[in-house]
């Protein structure tokens, strides 16, 4: 596809490269950058979403790779006069500037604080002024995603108090509002509320709104920015709550988005993956293993089929990383709740390849098994944070691992409580009826202990879902009649209805497309 934008792709001159070696000059603006901002500014003014997307996703990357591999872009002050000193454009440019910095270099404390200020200014504008732009979903998602990422990064940074310099401590004390957890959450919440996105999604179900059908874009001359930021903020809130360890509230924040359907969240691969990863993780911690398995399975299958299309994308590495993490989480879920029939063949074979051996060892529930649960959980879990302000009193300590350690500890505690279930399962699979006395004998425990083990099995395999109903996770189940155990083989619940609905809609789409073709 021929690119339509006309600026010259000036190759990096010797001068450019030379300047990088000498150190960063924030006021030097290479011609290619000047061209970039001028054209981007124009496209934004003209609401040319396709062009904006091309420049944002590809040109920015290309220039970064060529000219700014290890240096920041020119400062906003240096480029401002090329774009009429437009306030909003400058805020957007700065947002990209900081994002590039975080990705390629290590931000200083002052830069972290400045980035926070920039987000505040940018968000204030969007929330309180009527912006008249249409920006690509990719960009709007990246803003929310980066905002949460920088918050997480700041909390991690701040929690390492041990080797902080006097200067850094002074700055932290002075700018205690920067990346304050209340601020972060309230901005995300403000986007959700001010955009009215929840009501929009509700009304869409009744056919009164056209949000998802338009991928969030506004075709009646308005702006998509606030609405789509509001939408993505729901995913942002899910992510922040997971980082805090509040899985219940996180899932609640995501509720208005129906993840059994396509939606704006699937329009950007990064948003799709982030949503399902955190949704699955939250369900895992809530012991809703079947739900987690289902969603991980769908996501992993989707990535398997589509990752080739994202090979050139700047997000490719992240996609691969999350893919691996979800396989690890799936391995954990299936070890705790062996419902392998819920997993597609393709995903299953990948899973066997990566974790087949480990899963076999995990189901032995011995010390080695707990070590493996620890290993997989630690690899795949979110980077939990401690949101509170640090103590500035001596001795200064590093507490950046505290949050993670707590979540890991509680997770392993749960695994331990399920230790004896795997043994029960093995026996139940072999018998159709067996007396309590006999089974107690085989398991080398006394009868009262066996009764408690069987109760534990029932309790742990019957989770409480989001509506308060009891749902069974068990692949093999039983009931007790006085002192006789009767085993019940459970048929796996494979959902065909979703599949058929999707195919019906898809076929209709294909037929419509064919109808539109005019044959001469």
């Amino acid at each position: 596809m021929a690119s339509n934008y006309e600026y010259e792709e000036a190759s990096a001159t010797y001068d450019d490269a030379h300047r990088q070696d000498l150190g960063y000059d924030p006021n030097f603006v290479p011609d290619s950058v000047k061209s970039f901002v001028v054209h981007l500014y124009r496209h934004i003014r003209e609401k040319n979403v396709y062009e904006i997307h091309q420049m944002y996703e590809f040109s920015f990357q290309t220039l970064s790779d060529r000219l700014f591999k290890e240096a920041p872009w020119p400062s906003v002050d240096a480029v401002a006069h090329y774009v009429d000193n437009d306030q909003v454009f400058c805020l957007l440019y700065r947002e990209m500037w900081f994002r590039h910095l975080y990705a390629r270099l290590s931000p200083t404390l002052k830069q972290r604080i400045d980035s926070w200020d920039n987000y505040c200014s940018l968000f204030q504008v969007v929330l309180h002024r009527a912006v008249n732009m249409q920006l690509p979903n990719q960009w709007l998602w990246d803003m929310v995603d980066e905002f949460v990422y920088q918050f997480q990064s700041f909390c991690q940074y701040r929690a390492k108090m041990k080797n902080k310099t006097e200067q850094e401590i002074a700055l932290l004390r002075q700018y205690d509002q920067a990346w304050n957890v209340y601020g972060v959450l309230n901005y995300l919440q403000a986007f959700v509320e001010k955009s009215n996105i929840i009501q929009i999604l509700e009304q869409e179900k009744e056919g009164l709104e056209q949000f998802t059908a338009n991928d969030g874009y506004d075709y009646s001359g308005g702006s998509n920015v606030l609405k789509v930021l509001g939408y993505f903020s729901m995913v942002g809130l899910l992510r922040v709550h997971c980082l805090l360890g509040d899985y219940q509230t996180g899932l609640k924040c995501l509720l208005p988005i129906d993840i059994s359907q396509q939606g704006v969240y699937t329009s950007v691969i990064g948003s799709h993956i982030t949503t399902i990863y955190h949704y699955g993780f939250a369900n895992l911690m809530l012991r809703r293993y079947v739900e987690a398995i289902r969603e991980f399975n769908k996501m992993l299958l989707y990535i398997y089929k589509t990752k080739q299309y994202h090979q050139k994308s700047p997000q490719y590495e992240q996609i691969l990383k999350k893919n691996e993490q979800m396989y690890a989480l799936l391995a954990i879920c299936l070890s705790l709740c062996p419902q392998v029939k819920l997993v597609e063949d393709t995903v299953n074979s990948q899973l066997r390849e990566k974790y087949g051996e480990k899963m076999a060892r995990m189901q032995r529930y011995d010390d080695e098994a707990f070590g493996l649960y620890d290993e997989l959980f630690s690899y795949a879990c979110p980077k939990f944070i401690t949101p509170s302000a640090p103590s500035f009193e001596e001795p200064l300590v590093n507490y950046n691992q505290d949050a993670y350690r707590l979540q890991l500890k509680l997770f392993l505690y749960e695994v331990k409580q399920q230790q004896l279930l795997s043994g029960v399962r093995t026996f139940l699979k072999v018998y159709s009826t067996i007396s309590l006395g006999k089974l107690a004998n085989y398991m080398e425990v006394d009868e009262p202990t066996l009764r408690t083990i069987l109760l534990t099995y029932k309790h742990k395999t019957h989770a409480v879902d989001s509506d308060g109903k009891i749902i069974s996770n068990a692949d093999v189940d039983f009931y007790i009649d006085d002192d006789m155990i009767h085993v019940v083989e459970c048929k796996p619940v494979k959902r065909y209805s979703d599949y058929f609905l999707r195919q019906i809609v898809k076929l209709e789409g294909v037929i419509n497309d064919m109808d539109r073709i005019k044959l001469d």
């Binding site: 509040d246 509230t249 707590l406 029932k458 309790h459 409480v464 609905l501 809609v505």
Partner: protein, 233 residues
């Protein structure tokens, strides 16, 4: 808000407002006192709100110096009473490790462990030793008994009397009365077991009577079907 004496009607209004606060403005340090009052209200009125309590635990996480361990303990007891829901774990995820090391929390965690692993005898023994913690919350005993009956109902079609007695911590004449009440109102049937005394037949459900299991799992919500109405014509 700081109202001291409240009539039951005013108390109803306060809780309505607190629920609204949690729904609309949860990330706000100013509502902390309201949420604390609400916990106390839940205890005395025998009501329960997980969302409000999680909101408070989050605020304690954001500002640890404002944490009241007494309130946290009450939240945990209420969460225990909500079993089989995993509320207790959900609360623990938000409480710092060093706080969980305190004596009263270690006890509560042990109590939760016994309940999670069906060890009802050990649970009631331990609860008896920690009266001060559990008697502070009215309705505790009944809530745990309800949980015990829930798990037993998942597991047993017919349960021997001693097993039931141990699980719900009722014996002798009190147990007789309890069983009579359940037989009259709860659909329980009392049978004579072979030699070993009474057998209690628990009400049938899809978990202890697998033939009752509907294939409801593949049911489709109506709103999904409405998507294809235009196609079906």
């Amino acid at each position: 808000m700081g109202r001291e004496r409240e009539t039951p009607k005013e108390q109803q209004q306060v809780s309505y407002t607190v629920e609204q606060l949690v729904a609309v403005n949860p990330y706000n340090p100013d509502i902390l006192p309201d949420l604390e009052n609400y916990v106390n209200e839940q205890v005395s009125l025998q009501t329960y709100s997980l969302d409000a309590n999680l909101c408070l635990l989050r605020l304690y996480q954001f500002e640890p110096e404002r944490m009241s361990t007494q309130i946290v303990a009450r939240i945990l007891v209420k969460a225990l009473m909500a079993m089989p829901a995993p509320d207790f774990s959900l609360c623990l995820f938000l409480i710092p490790e060093r706080v969980q090391m305190e004596e009263q929390f270690k006890t509560l965690i042990v109590l939760s462990h016994y309940l999670e692993t069906g060890r009802f005898r050990q649970f009631w023994d331990e609860a008896a030793k920690s009266r001060h913690i559990v008697e502070a919350v009215p309705g505790f005993e009944q809530a745990i008994q309800a949980y015990a009956i829930h798990v037993l109902s998942l597991t047993y079609q017919k349960i021997p009397r001693p097993v039931l007695a141990e699980a719900i911590n009722i014996e002798g004449l009190s147990l007789d009365k309890f069983l009579e009440h359940q037989a009259a109102n709860g659909g329980w049937i009392l049978e004579k077991g072979h030699g070993r005394g009474q057998l209690i037949v628990l009400p049938q459900n899809e978990f202890n009577h697998p033939e009752l299991k509907k294939s409801a799992a593949d049911s489709v919500p109506l709103e999904h079907i409405t998507r294809i109405f235009p196609i079906l014509g």
